[in-house]
């Protein structure tokens, strides 16, 4: 391929630019970058997977920087934005199963009504220590929001992957604790 034809290709089909934040298109019809999730798809996914109502995110905008890495910002800015970080990393897309971040699960997972696994104190400690554990769970397999009881309420700990009778802890190394 010559340089010219490569340039032609890139101008014909916009791709994700890892150096900047681009706001997600509102719907699939408005999508210009192939493979980029739309805001509508993000809201639908949280509602379907966790029962979190779309209106929860009314005051927020969603952005992609890094392939498939979706960020959530309170409020909005003109797109694109060439800076280091914008709001909070929220969700991984562009893979077969979308995966929420631990921080997003902690911040918004308290509103979840589906696919939430509730652990007792001892299991919660093992989970935040990063340990995988056998668990009876008759709900969906895949990424779950994991919670425990704290100070009179249910509080989300993070994200677990449930497969074949085992709950894997997806708490990142830097967030793991020995409580």
């Amino acid at each position: 391929m010559t340089d010219e034809s490569r340039n032609e290709k890139s101008s014909a089909e916009p791709t994700n630019d890892g150096q900047r934040f681009d706001r997600l298109p509102v719907t699939a019809e408005e999508r210009e970058v192939p493979g980029r999730a739309s805001r509508r798809e993000i809201l639908d996914w949280w509602e379907e997977r966790f029962g979190i109502e779309p209106k929860t995110f009314d005051g927020y905008s969603f952005w992609e920087k890094g392939k498939g890495k979706i960020w959530i910002l309170r409020g909005d800015l003109d797109s694109p934005v060439r800076i280091e970080a914008l709001g909070m990393t929220f969700l991984r897309t562009r893979q077969r199963h979308w995966k929420p971040t631990t921080n997003a699960a902690q911040r918004f997972g308290g509103l979840a009504t589906r696919n939430v696994v509730h652990l007792d104190d001892q299991r919660a400690r093992r989970f935040v220590h990063g340990e995988d554990q056998e668990l009876d769970w008759d709900g969906d397999w895949g990424y779950l929001i994991v919670s425990h009881e704290l100070a009179g309420g249910r509080e989300p700990l993070g994200v677990g992957l449930y497969l074949h009778g085992e709950l894997q802890s997806l708490v990142p190394k830097g967030r793991q604790r020995d409580i």
Binding site: L73, I83, G87, M88, A151, E155, R177, I179
Partner: protein
């Protein structure tokens, strides 16, 4: 401690000051209002058997027994380990929800996350730091505490550019500058090992540039808070004096429920603007904290 001798003439009780500097600091956490209330945090500490005591001047500041890291409130981002005096400047700036705030030297993010809580995570904080390596700590902390209202930039704060954004000024700015850190001796006993007057004078030049740019980037009527964790008048009052003479801003009074001494108007033969008395000096022996300096400015006529 030799570096601190030069402050003997301006201190009420030099022996008590030195004795405080040699004691370790109490363990203090700040409650993160984005994720929790002081009541939920203290309920969780009670259930874990962690002893705590609220600081009289602010219910969001708690002294706790032992290390703050391995507790449920810390894991959930309900609390953030933050030295007591380090929480002063964000409380003094006291931004309102919806405002745009510049945090000139933001890493590792204790004050950024505190500003976000004061905004109720509703507004925009541009959290800037010139040191790319320190931005990962800033991002880790904002995300752990559930902050979604930050935009993180990597610029030299002395010529901070608003070019990445679609607005032209901030409502407020927090200017917590790099400094000689004399006030952190209780936390870091080697803080004074590399002390020199040359270093102080060099860093003061950087501080002047950072504060001037923050004042310029703040709208008329907006607030700017300047702070350091050092006692050196060259980095505190002299920086304010320099900026007051060159930028359209003035010092304003503020209240914070901790004991303090007024800013100096004279140091080693130099006279400073009388209004600099409105700045506050916080000494280790007065509140059992680290040392700190904090001033509040208003921009424009």
């Amino acid at each position: 401690m030799d570096a601190l001798e030069r402050y003997e003439p301006i201190l009420d009780d030099y022996e008590a000051f030195l004795a405080a500097c040699e004691r370790p600091l109490p363990s203090v956490v700040r409650v993160n209002g984005i994720k929790a209330t002081p009541e939920r945090v203290t309920d969780a500490f009670d259930a874990e058997g962690v002893e705590w005591e609220s600081r009289e001047w602010n219910e969001n500041v708690l002294e706790i027994e032992g290390k703050p890291g391995n507790t449920w409130p810390s894991f959930h981002g309900w609390t953030h380990g933050q030295e007591e005096v380090s929480s002063i400047p964000a409380f003094v700036l006291d931004p309102e929800p919806g405002e745009r705030v510049l945090d000139s030297c933001a890493a590792p993010g204790s004050k950024t996350t505190q500003l976000a809580a004061l905004l109720d995570d509703d507004g925009l904080i541009v959290a800037n730091d010139s040191n790319l390596g320190r931005l990962s700590a800033l991002r880790f902390n904002t995300e752990r505490l559930g902050v979604t209202c930050t935009a993180v930039t990597n610029q030299d704060a002395r010529n901070f550019s608003l070019k990445p954004f679609d607005f032209e000024s901030f409502d407020a700015a927090l200017v917590d500058v790099p400094c000689s850190c004399e006030g952190t001796i209780r936390k870091n006993p080697t803080a004074l090992d590399d002390w020199s007057l040359d270093h102080i004078e060099g860093v003061a030049g950087v501080q002047k540039g950072i504060l001037r740019r923050a004042v310029q980037a703040t709208r008329e009527g907006g607030k700017v808070v300047y702070s350091t964790c050092t006692f050196a008048p060259e980095e505190n009052e002299a920086v304010l004096d320099h900026v007051l003479a060159r930028e359209n801003c003035r010092l304003v009074e503020y209240d914070i429920g901790l004991r303090s001494e007024p800013g100096l108007t004279e140091w080693h033969g130099d006279d400073y603007d009388e209004s600099i008395r409105k700045a506050k000096r916080f000494y280790p022996h007065h509140n059992d904290t680290g040392g700190f300096f904090c001033a509040k400015l208003e921009v424009g006529a």
